[in-house]
Symmetry: C2
Subunit: 243 residues, 2 copies
């Protein structure tokens, strides 16, 4: 919005509408290019680190595909790019309460022709424990300067289980979601949604997001590459990436 | 069933029906007494180990109350007995896919007059991380001789999160669920339920239970007391308890 407004104001009153539209289209092109680049970075990372010579299983949460981001998406874009390289199957978690995994991600996986199964969110740790998952890959909504990651509620539990079983936990998003002005996850407000989404009759906790501390994140993938701890120095900002 | 059959056969053909009924009623009385005893053991344990001087919050999963067991139940029986001693609030997880937490446990908590809130299963780890939970207490369906615990799917994820945040994770059931003939959780078959419970259109993993290894279980509570690792020597069997 800031970019579009600045371009419009700089163009003056006569050319304002065209300039705003041109800037918006430039942002769209950049975002499509970013999705393609981060998918390549993530697929190369997974291909290099997952066991060779067999079908690998990637678990994902919520939706981070073409319905959520440009191109084939962020987390799901990485999975799709990996499937271009080698056989992959995906376990998609439902993502209660709004079931974006069950409603969106499995639909996208079907369109992509990637073998997949749906699981209730709370089955994920048991599936990890019994060796049915090779890596966890999700998108993210926002990352703080120190690498703490905010994403759909449930992401944190997957990160804890992944760590407990020494599985890689990768999060994927464009650098536009890196927020250098937010020092850590403690400063990220967590939206508390209407309790009516899960119950009309009873009190309910209904946080939309949770925060995964940086120390549980194996790597953060953006269009600028694969970033590892310490994230305060490795994470690019949009400004740095563009300059 | 074995006890009722043995009592009936021992009574002979004329008194068979009455003997079967008397044995069944004896089992019921024993189970009610077991529920009362395990609730007292668990409440004393929680009261002694949770922070004094403030309301404590216990998280539970699925239903382990009066609708699932005798008396006020097992896990929920402990919580009810704790609420008799001090102020308690409860976070009940939904327990997808059949939502026994959302449908049964919150109803029971309302009847018991215990303050409570419902949360989607995958919100639990984030609530634990942000300090909103003091202990996790659940029932269990079966425990192996080594202390590995099978319970409603999602229990394992709570155990992993509890360990990650150094919270106590207590499981509660009568000694009739201790299975000395099963060496470990690896020998407990996990029921895979109909995928139609979570999706009509897509492939799905739908395990009904998961197994929590004994090393994540802070204590197992039965009517015989509070049992701690190593469970292979501390767990009572029904036979030992009755003798």
């Amino acid at each position: 919005v800031e970019r579009v407004r600045a371009a419009a104001l700089a163009a003056g009153p006569v050319r304002m509408a065209g300039a705003a539209r041109a800037e918006a289209e430039a942002i769209e092109r950049e975002d499509v290019a970013a999705s393609a680049a981060l998918a390549d970075h993530g697929a190369a990372l997974l291909d290099a680190t997952l066991p060779a010579g067999r079908v690998v299983t990637v678990m994902t949460h919520c939706n981070s595909g073409a319905l959520a981001a440009s191109g084939r998406g962020t987390g799901l874009g990485v999975i799709a790019a990996l499937a271009d390289r080698r056989p992959v199957q995906v376990i998609a978690c439902e993502a209660r309460p709004l079931l974006q995994g069950a409603r969106l991600t499995v639909w996208e996986l079907g369109r992509l022709g990637i073998e997949h199964a749906l699981a209730v969110d709370s089955a994920a740790p048991g599936l990890i424990r019994t060796g049915q998952v090779d890596a966890v890959v999700t998108g993210f909504d926002r990352v703080a300067a120190n690498g703490d990651v905010a994403n759909k509620v449930g992401t944190y539990g997957l990160a804890v289980s992944a760590r407990h079983h020494a599985l890689p936990f990768y999060v994927v998003a464009p650098t536009s979601t890196v927020d250098p002005a937010t020092a850590s996850g403690a400063a990220i407000p967590i939206e508390e949604r209407e309790r009516s989404e899960i119950s009309w009759r009873f009190a309910a906790y209904n946080p939309a997001f949770d925060v995964t501390p940086a120390d549980l994140v194996t790597a953060i993938v953006t269009e600028a590459g694969v970033h590892r701890a310490p994230y305060s120095s490795s994470l690019p900002t949009r400004i740095a990436a563009a300059s």
